[in-house]
Point group: C5
């Protein structure tokens, strides 16, 4: 993930379309958002009708015709169209404002006789970013909004068309559940990829730690933080849905919502485990770096302590005391075996030092290969 | 933000105007506070009247004339005037004391038939500092107090004047909501700026870490701490407002307050994310610094290990053993190719060392540019 | 535990058999899972009958014949057989899906008139990994599922056969308790082994810290994290079982479930203690490493500071100032005791340095043996 | 604060006067505690009577004479006198035991028809230590105990005498509130001083970090810990007082207690902020120290890398190869510009190194002054 | 505390006497446990009878004879005797199992008409280890079990004999309280010793930090962890006792239990404070170590930077350029004051370096004594 995309994302998260102090319920969509495409799917146990509507007035005829009407809006770039849709289904202005401001936390809110559900799905454009999906669940209808293609809910649509499972025999609340379930399950592949990344980093951090590894660990932790921020309130929202009494959600459906809630708990669980592993990686990195520093220091120390006495001895016999002025002035220089004697002295000092280091364990421990294979 | 301003702020936060043991309800405004300017805005669906009142007795005629009366006091420097206002609207002495002591945490308190609401807004003088705004919500009136100009609530005033949105058709509780909403939304720009600062620091910390970076990270974390301290109780206060039953707040308005509460949760969420990013930055900084130290150590070690043997060899052949006294005394000195032999020995030792370092990976890893571009 | 096994485990944890958006209740067992073996044990106070059934239709005759029927399924590789079993006992499809997806968190869920209980037991193949065991408790029957042999519940089966304890005189809820108790108690040996590992690491970290020690500490913390993730929800599930009113669990049995719940608390307690010890180990490791670095630095410094002045003095008297040109040019060279004087100067400088270090405490503290035995 | 005083304080905190296993309710005052001085203040709206009583039997006549009787005991050195007082007002033995054991946590306890309140005030002898103050609130009377002079409640006494505020017109519960309020407000000056200390440390830690700074940071954190330990339960105790129904505390007074509770929350808030700042200081200190180490390392490396090649070159031309034996043996020695050539070589190597360091940014970053003023 | 004792303790904590899957309620005492000694004390306000019973059947005559019967069992090595006692008093099998498995967490459990209380007391054999004490409180009797002598409850027994305090006039619940109180108060001396240890470590860590100090800090933190694990559930158990309604505990006794609960809170409070101090010690240790490393580095750098130029200059004038071949070849060697000139150059370079270091503040800060006394 590039720096720029991260920046763009953060901006989007914060920037509100409406200015502080503006009247609440103002629909000010992001000017860059794409124009909405509205698809209606009206179905019952026996038949179904699917249509892409350009003119919202044609929608009026479809609503209520069969047990469930599902209106799916893709693209949030047209405030007027969304307002019109809101009026048709009696959706609250504050909820529609939240639909358009795509930086909401997942939540469930009761507005009169409709339930407003905000959820987030992993973005298909940038891994670990999330996009907002909003649902309205009313008597006999579900209205869903997503920011841009490709459609998140394609598998559910396919199940309705193919009459797979129980979905064609159930009511609108089951459709809402199916959509939420598809949204939640979309996080599993993202987590799998993050898990693989962490494993790769685990190996890097022990084998070849570099400053780039730190950046990658941080990026990974950052992504986990972002995901957690999206999943945590999702969990709460689902708990509200399956626990709080609402005439819109039948007891039969609550069992399914509990199952979906269970999935969010599993995701949270994994996220927390990954976060702990990520923190552990930083520890290992730091200990790995300080270990390398230690090794470097040891090499320096060994070299320095071996050559310093050698150099000193060499310099010693390079002194110019005049041997002819006094028999005390470096008589070694004139010895027959003076030079071999000096070389021997040097060899002895080196060996002594090496022995000292060997006994301190610096020579054996210094080789990484051996210590790694130790246990 | 300078040291001085931070110090000033902290002082202001702590210092209570009243001495320990003083009688409760004593109105002792900060002697440096500016004199109050009182503006009244009385409005209904059809008409409105706006006036700046110098004499508080003229206020009496305006209260209750139209559905909503909004008295806004700017500047808290006159204890007597505030007490008079309190008497006019039946405000509790303890609450008025809190109005004047501008270091309160946001809170909601029921005093008889009025609700007393303290909230904080980002200061317009110093970023990330906050100022206190206090509201009284009673039957048909709102009395609001702020420390100094410019007015926080100007956009709301403008909406009333221009009859934009629903505000002119609603009661006093909606006005209170509109004011709180304006206060909360004022934090978004501050957060956006902090987000940009963190991004900048993120780049600095990897590219050019310096002790000054640490100071800036700390300052940033400090500001986040301050904001969190202002927002956290705000969230609680709003939760109390929209959940607890109070005859002063109608159910229709509770929906709006819930929306406002939602915004504080979003702000908290961002703050927590920023705080985690800030903590991560310190980690990266420390690993960055220890990496640089590692690099410095490597350079030192490489230079030292290359030149120590060289110097030793040079010193060795600088010894003064008398070659004429014995054929064992450094015969190399008299060889025809003695000097080239010595130079060759040196070159060999250097190359050997370089080979050793190269195989240890010290030479390649040592260059920051390459390792950064690694993944 | 090898890297590969850890990776395999993590994969298994995440990968769902069903695709996102699939119809709920789809039974898609892991293709690698072994075929199920079904054992039935029907017993009362007086007699019992045990049988391995290949054809599920023969089961129908056994159910309800005696007070308790226990059907135990080993291996989850046949979705159709499990579905048939579900139909026979009236088990919910969503629950059966969870039986097959063996990555569930421990939980208790009420589905109509059966209780669905998921628990985890330590894996017999890989220490510190866990396997899923699922139970259905209904009126007069328990259906249990486990992933693969060897059977977890062998001791309970033995107790029924041998008519040991109260089990033959109790109802199905007591059997469910006995199975859960066996599952929970299975964690104690794993914990004992982890405790021994931590002790061993504690000694390693003080005596011979190496990068491999860090890897082992991290692996240990990782395992504790995994266990905690399995035990924590187990605790909650048991609390639900013994506290929530359910006609399936008699008050007499609740006392036993409370005892079992107590055991999970004890396990959690130990896990938390181990986790704190594990974190402490990292601290000790880091301080141990930085201590060694310190020691290395001291040796380097001591050697360098002793030999640098020596080398300097030797070089000094190696200068070629022409003593014959001036009496000021190194008259020492011609002294009678010039060389001994120079050697004495060197000895003095060395002694001075050693004295300085001795007084700084570097020489005494540098020896590990002494400081370790200090207190 | 000296080591000794800290030790003394800790001892006092732990040591219980009564031995383990002793009969509860035993009054065993600290033998070093000063003898009690008892002052009675009996007042109503119209008149008041103040007296220091030596003989407790004279007290009996005063109690109940006017609406409120306030008995204040200074010094806890006489167990018999305290027991007599307890009998006079019907105080429970266990509560009196707590009065004498001055290491209680703040708490509120109902004993029959009296409320027993323990609170702590900042010690006037040693900053950041706290002393215990105990109150009994009964119908029409308050009995208060403090360890030693100077009196904490002097301002309240003054207010009663001077008939300032509402205190003379209120009942005993208001007096209890006034005393608690005075106790809580006494923490603000202590916090202000700690805040200034932290600021000072903040500057020290960046500018001149030394081991002494760490000790001071730790002492500061220690003091914050101590204060927190005193304030945290105070908050709870006050919450109990203003929330729990008790016939002794009238609703009018609860509003005032809520205000007092608010002050403890403000104090807690500040303490938490200070604690976070304190933790941040340790981080800055460590990064500051490692930065200095880095700088030291750089200087060493620069000096070493510049002089090592120089020394090598000088040693090289100090070798004694006999130029007269072979034209290959160091012909440079006989060149006309041999010496300047060698010096030039040295200058070149130095400049090369400096250029290398300059390009690595070591020379510019090394100066603290520049980098600090960077942003 | 030695390594071995710690290991033994941990083993004991984990190892369950009963195998996983064993029938619940199996009494399998530790084979190393000592044989039980049973003492009965039957008392009322007027008289008491104390006896050591060898044959449990003689017990039957004593029970119920006077208001309170206290059976105290020391040593848990005889499963049959304990089972017989259980039958006599109607104690539940599961509870008796917990009596024998001496690794229980403190807890209170209602079994029919008896309360089963497990508590832990500091071990008299090994400081900071704890032993289990179990109590059964029934109508008119208390049965208590402890692992081994010396008796924990000796002071309570003494109070009954001597008719000190209220104990002889109260019922069985007061006896249970008295025993619990004695158990809890036993922790205060242990805490006092730990507090002194921490103080000692605090001084060591600043003055003479060594790896052994880290081990001691860790051991201390370990002990605090162990104590916390024993006290934390004790607190909960006591809260249950004094809050939950149970006919066995009279309201008068609840006041005393609340007092006892208060003591556990005080202990927890101290433990938490100690734990924070312990964590702070690790911080101080690390900063102390890194400070020393800094100091070592400075000494090395100062020595190296002073002697490197000196050595270079000495080597320079040791070069063998032939002065007779060219006037450019080291004419200094033939100068009259050549040698003093060279020495002067050396002195200048040294002084320059020292000046540089002095201005950098390295020379003054380097001395530990001064910087410690700084503030």
């Amino acid at each position: 993930m590039s720096k720029n995309s991260r920046r763009r994302r953060r901006r989007r998260w914060i920037r509100r379309q409406t200015a502080p102090g503006a009247s609440p319920g103002t629909l000010a969509p992001d000017p860059e958002a794409s124009k909405p495409v509205v698809r209606v799917l009206s179905y019952g146990a026996d038949d179904f009708e699917e249509r892409e509507v350009a003119d919202l007035s044609t929608l009026r005829g479809l609503v209520g015709k069969r047990p469930v009407t599902w209106v799916h809006v893709q693209g949030l770039g047209d405030g007027a169209a969304i307002a019109a849709l809101g009026e048709l289904f009696g959706l609250h202005k504050l909820a529609l404002e939240d639909v358009v401001n795509v930086h909401q936390r997942p939540k469930v809110e009761q507005y009169g006789e409709t339930l407003f559900i905000v959820t987030r799905v992993p973005s298909r454009r940038e891994e670990t970013d999330t996009e907002q999906v909003a649902l309205f669940l009313g008597g006999g209808f579900v209205v869903s909004f997503e920011e841009r293609p490709p459609e998140v809910f394609a598998p559910v649509r396919e199940r309705i068309r193919a009459r797979r499972g129980r979905i064609r025999f159930e009511e609108a609340d089951y459709l809402a559940y199916a959509l939420l379930d598809a949204a939640v399950d979309g996080f599993f592949p993202v987590l799998e990829r993050l898990g693989e990344q962490l494993e790769e980093l685990e190996e890097l951090v022990v084998g070849r730690p570099s400053p780039a590894t730190v950046s990658r660990i941080q990026a990974c932790k950052h992504d986990l933080l972002m995901l957690r921020r999206a999943i945590w309130p999702q969990r709460e929202a689902l708990a509200v849905l399956f626990r709080d009494p609402s005439p819109l959600v039948r007891p039969e459906t609550r069992v399914y919502l509990r199952d979906c809630y269970d999935h969010t708990i599993q995701i949270m669980d994994l996220l927390e485990t990954y976060r702990e592993i990520g923190s552990g990686l930083m520890d290992v990195y730091l200990s790995s770096v300080s270990n390398r520093m230690n090794e470097v220091m040891k090499v320096l120390t060994i070299i320095a302590t071996i050559f310093m006495p050698l150099s000193f001895l060499a310099s010693l016999y390079g002194m110019n005391f005049q041997t002819d002025k006094s028999p005390w002035n470096m008589p070694e220089l004139a010895w027959r075996y003076g030079y071999p004697f000096a070389l021997g002295l040097m060899a002895l000092s080196s060996l002594g030092m090496l022995l000292y280091f060997w006994r301190k364990g610096w020579l054996t421990n210094g080789s990484r290969r051996r210590s790694e294979g130790e246990p």
